[in-house]
Symmetry: C2
Subunit: 349 residues, 2 copies
């Protein structure tokens, strides 16, 4: 085809002027067609579209960004601990949801990870200071509020997937009600002594789950304080470790509520390893409903969090803000659902 003038490294560029010449019109009008802006004579428009097609013209993102201050890219900041990232199926789902919505708006996704524990702000710094993206979605409640603040100060919209007290718009699942359902389920099965493996207790999501769980007890006229509590960090490993700590007191409780599925999997692993049987020796309820929850032996009863929808909603809000159509302070709470499987059973007599 057009092999002439196309060196190996040369990304030969067809510009707006080429299209204009081909269509016999000024390049400004071509720009109008590209941007669907103002009025262009239908006949002219067709001629230009035909030229664009024939020349296989694509506008330069860089040039457009330079003029319009829009990059057509949104950034996704991922959680701090990259070890955590490795096993996080939830995150994949969230990203998928974001990507879906981004596609609808013809946007692309820039992945922004933390470079090291030493520079917690790097995802924010790198992306937005360099104006790589039009806005940012922060996946997960975070401690680096200062970093988020800087981004907002620069005028970039930010949406958080999780809770925050900054007044930043956010999307999260209804953790309190979810935990309430988990507690109610165990209570209905006759369990009264229930241990809990929580996520990091400084997180608002974790506090919400603790509240909801206690409320289930209260509504049964019971004290909402769990028999035993161990804290984890949402990783499989930490669930295993938390279970090891609880295990010493085995027998003091007949059921276990774990704040996410990964830790529940870790806990079940410890139990199996030590000769205990789920749900015979202890009933377990998780949280999230990741793909592998169903595949545990026994299949894990859990509270389903709508991860993909969380991502999609967050992106929707971000785009609404970018279009000037949304308040800067919306909070969306998505419903959870109790998924009954085989890891819970009536309390043993």
């Amino acid at each position: 085809m057009d092999s002439v003038g196309q060196s190996v490294s040369g990304k030969r560029k067809i510009t707006i002027r080429d299209v204009a010449k081909h269509a016999g019109i000024s390049y400004q009008t071509v720009s109008r067609v590209i941007n669907d802006s103002e009025s262009v004579a239908p006949e002219t428009r067709d001629r230009i579209l035909k030229a664009i097609d024939e020349l296989n013209y694509r506008p330069s993102v860089a040039a457009r960004a330079l003029n319009s201050n829009r990059t057509n890219v949104i950034a996704v900041a991922t959680p701090f601990d990259s070890d955590n990232l490795f096993e996080d199926l939830n995150l994949l789902q969230i990203i998928h949801g974001i990507d879906r919505e981004a596609a609808r708006h013809d946007y692309s996704l820039l992945l922004s990870t933390q470079r090291s524990v030493e520079e917690p702000f790097s995802p924010y710094q790198r992306l937005l200071n360099r104006q790589l993206a039009d806005g940012m979605i922060v996946s997960g409640e975070t401690v680096a509020e200062e970093g988020i603040h800087r981004v907002i100060e620069r005028g970039y919209p930010v949406v958080i997937i999780g809770y925050n007290q900054l007044g930043v718009p956010c999307v999260h699942s209804d953790d309190e009600t979810g935990a309430f359902k988990a507690g109610g389920h165990l209570l209905n099965l006759g369990h009264r002594k229930i241990a809990v493996i929580t996520g990091p207790r400084l997180l608002l999501a974790v506090q919400a789950r603790e509240r909801g769980f206690a409320r289930a007890f209260n509504e049964h006229g019971l004290d909402g304080t769990p028999s035993l509590v161990a804290e984890g960090d949402f990783t499989i490993r930490s669930g295993y470790a938390a279970m090891a700590r609880l295990g010493v007191h085995f027998g003091e409780y007949s059921a276990l509520f774990v704040h996410n599925d990964r830790m529940a999997i870790g806990a079940m692993h410890w139990l199996t390893e030590h000769g205990y049987t789920v749900p015979h020796d202890v009933s377990i309820v998780g949280f999230d409903d990741i793909t592998t929850a169903e595949l545990q032996s026994p299949a894990l009863t859990t509270v389903r969090s709508p991860s993909m929808m969380l991502g999609q909603k967050a992106a929707e809000i971000l785009f609404a803000i970018l279009d000037g159509q949304a308040l800067n302070t919306s909070t969306v709470t998505l419903d959870t659902e109790l998924i009954l499987r085989d890891s819970t059973a009536p309390v043993q007599a």
Copy 2:
């Protein structure tokens, strides 16, 4: 601070000219300092760096991209089937490896997913036609070779994580030797009748694993044809389904080699569900060593694929090409390692 003139939506821009004025020098010299190019008097450089720091200046990526034809972004194209993407821990590790290397070069990662089954080329089209990235890493051997071709024709470097016959540089694990090790292990345990659950057999990676497995038999003076074969698509679900198909003939084999861990997990799930015990009834070896392999009951014996390193190597090659330092046709093969756990045992008498 500089609150004046900074509206809510206004991303106030500090330009190279501001820095120049602040430092009392021409803006061209500022550009030189930013780019570490040519010679600048040390004293001048210091003055400029100080000004950059004081004004908190960040160069505009768009403007730089427009001039230099470099975006400082590389794209990662993810696999076709997005259901597949959901559960793919391997992919997360690969992406992490790429991101790591990108960070070293001060590059960012653009995630490019398929929009729908109908437009398999979309990841290629969208990103590169619009010149959003300097190059592309394709994660996984793919059928959309046409899409890759178009990208290459445009002059963009591409690195594939997986095999290809296009002459495109690629990185993959030593699948043949890995499968050879898996086969040897089972043979050493006394197994002679071994079933296999393969990945899609049109993939070169799958063919390499089949070859390596057969070679293990041959070196033992045995016929390399597996007792029974079922094909899956690497998903947990397909492993479950493949096992269901094999299960009818249960007893005709004492061991199972599964082409990836996710399918192995699916297969184990089927076995447990139907009352069989691993490794008592059947020994199982997987492939990949994803995080959760260790957490199965029993813990899965598997061939470890260096996923993160795969991503990192691919990025290294891409950057080498971008810097004009690499042939356009390198292939890197990374070693695998047999990880012995509890899902394999000597054949029953």
